[in-house]
């Protein structure tokens, strides 16, 4: 697992050192690799009978997790919003 993070950090360092050269092609490579990997994930999923049969339950579980994640994050964002802006405005009025 640390190999992956190590590879990313090496990339960050190398990208920083090569700052003078705009590596604009890198986004295309990233997109291609993402397409390849999601295709491979698809092949893996499609070849697995148990997952195919349970796809609707997996979808439902996915929705439950996303709703939890979004609600949790927007409540946290509201707390920061309130502290940074609303509270200050009220103090200004008073």
């Amino acid at each position: 697992m640390f190999v992956m993070i190590g590879l990313m950090l090496t990339g960050v360092l190398l990208g920083y050192l090569l700052k003078k050269h705009k590596l604009s092609w890198i986004h295309k490579v990233i997109t291609l690799l993402i397409w390849l990997l999601l295709f491979l994930l698809g092949v893996d999923v499609g070849g697995n009978q148990e997952i195919i049969n349970g796809l609707h339950t997996l979808g439902l579980e996915a929705i439950v997790i996303s709703v939890g994640a979004v609600l949790g994050s927007v409540v946290a964002a509201w707390v920061l919003w309130y502290r940074l802006y609303k509270k200050r405005k009220k103090e200004d009025i008073a």
């Binding site: 990313m8 490579v29 690799l33 092949v43 999923v45 349970g54 949790g72 927007v74």
Partner: protein
């Protein structure tokens, strides 16, 4: 949105190839996806290190907004932990790993597939796509009920690219830099958190 559709179609084409055994040799036994993932991580690092603009713009921010990515991460993890109660056949760490994708479905699903298998990987893919879609569709409502920072938090790691236009539209142009900064930090935290929750 067009980008997301292309990605989803690659996944769907892959499923069809898998279901009908259209690919002669067995990918799952090969280490192809592992090497491709390594190459992807390296390229993501390169693009971050090479982009000096993002790092420069950070200095222009309202200092309090530095905490927004932290709020997003903590809020997401708390929300996911809470709903994991309703998902009896998934462990807390599985749910947290999926939640730690923060909408970055490509990277998080690939990672989770590698470490936890393709079933949880599929949940991660779907869940994080849904998160992006929720942000795109409900941004105006989120601003109304939870303030201007809400769509940025909801967007998670996607706020520097796919959901940026909608945030600019509904939170206001003044939040674009915050949004990019937020996306940058949350994006960067994805591999660390996903790997952490996959390994405990």
């Amino acid at each position: 949105m067009k980008g997301s559709l292309i990605i989803v179609s690659f996944f769907v084409i892959g499923i069809l190839c898998g279901v009908y055994h259209l690919i002669p040799f067995d990918f799952t036994q090969s280490k192809l996806s592992y090497y491709a993932l390594g190459a992807l991580m390296f390229c993501v690092g390169l693009s971050v290190g090479n982009d000096s603009q993002t790092l420069k713009k950070v200095r222009l921010l309202n200092p309090g907004l530095v905490f927004l990515p932290i709020m997003t991460i903590l809020g997401t993890l708390a929300g996911t932990a809470l709903v994991s109660i309703f998902l009896s056949n998934r462990s807390l760490t599985d749910c947290l790993a999926v939640g730690s994708g923060f909408g970055y479905y490509s990277l998080s699903s690939i990672f989770i597939t590698e470490y936890k298998g393709s079933e949880l990987g599929t949940i991660a893919l779907l869940s994080n796509i849904i998160r992006e879609v929720i942000t795109l569709l409900f941004a105006p409502l989120l601003v109304k009920y939870f303030g201007n920072l809400a769509p940025i938090s909801a967007g998670g790691a996607t706020t520097m690219d796919t959901t940026l236009p909608i945030i600019a539209r509904y939170s206001g142009q003044g939040f674009v830099i915050v949004s990019i900064f937020h996306g940058f930090i949350v994006d960067f935290s994805v591999p660390f958190l996903v790997i952490l929750f996959c390994s405990i």
